[in-house]
Symmetry: C2
């Protein structure tokens, strides 16, 4: 891997919001509207973070109906390192389980 590529990938990761997004995605695929709930952030803000992660090749999108489902790209050259980084981080307070309990989890299967 060259320096520029690693720089771009690490810059994409080194943001608290995006680290949270990646932490959630390390457990399950999610869509934008779920992140706006989980992170209590505006939809454009989340969309822009997703774009940055996608440009770095760290996540994949899959359009399904109105939703775009995002997941970690396991084929990224830094996937293993990323996984060990995410493992060092605590579980976020707001969980996907609590979303389900509140009936806010989208069912896009």
């Amino acid at each position: 891997m060259d320096y520029k590529q690693m720089e771009q990938s690490l810059k994409a990761v080194s943001d608290e919001t995006r680290m949270l997004i990646l932490k959630y995605l390390s457990k399950e695929a999610l869509c934008i509207c779920e992140f706006t709930e989980l992170l209590d952030m505006s939809q454009p803000a989340i969309s822009q973070h997703m774009r940055k992660l996608k440009q770095a090749g760290l996540i994949c999108e899959e359009k399904r109906g109105r939703w775009t489902i995002w997941s970690l790209n396991e084929k990224h050259g830094l996937f293993e390192v990323l996984a060990s980084l995410l493992a060092l981080l605590p579980e976020p307070e707001r969980t996907v389980e609590s979303l389900i309990a509140e009936g806010k989890k989208v069912n896009c299967n």
Copy 2:
């Protein structure tokens, strides 16, 4: 490790110049004036990169005479991850050996 701390550490790493500095330091301790030669950069620019890496706790300084000798902080929580990241990067074109050959390597022992 909390999110803010990892964000600060990764932000410090995710810069091409600083990745090069860390790559050199993964082999041996060096001082500022050697980096100005190795990276062909101004002294203040290097000093400011060092300050950023030090604030993130990634490197240690040791004052010896007029020189400040910098080395990797092996006790940093991300040291192992950092080492595996640096291992993925190619050797820089300009080597410390070439500095020695040109008589530009400082001997501060």
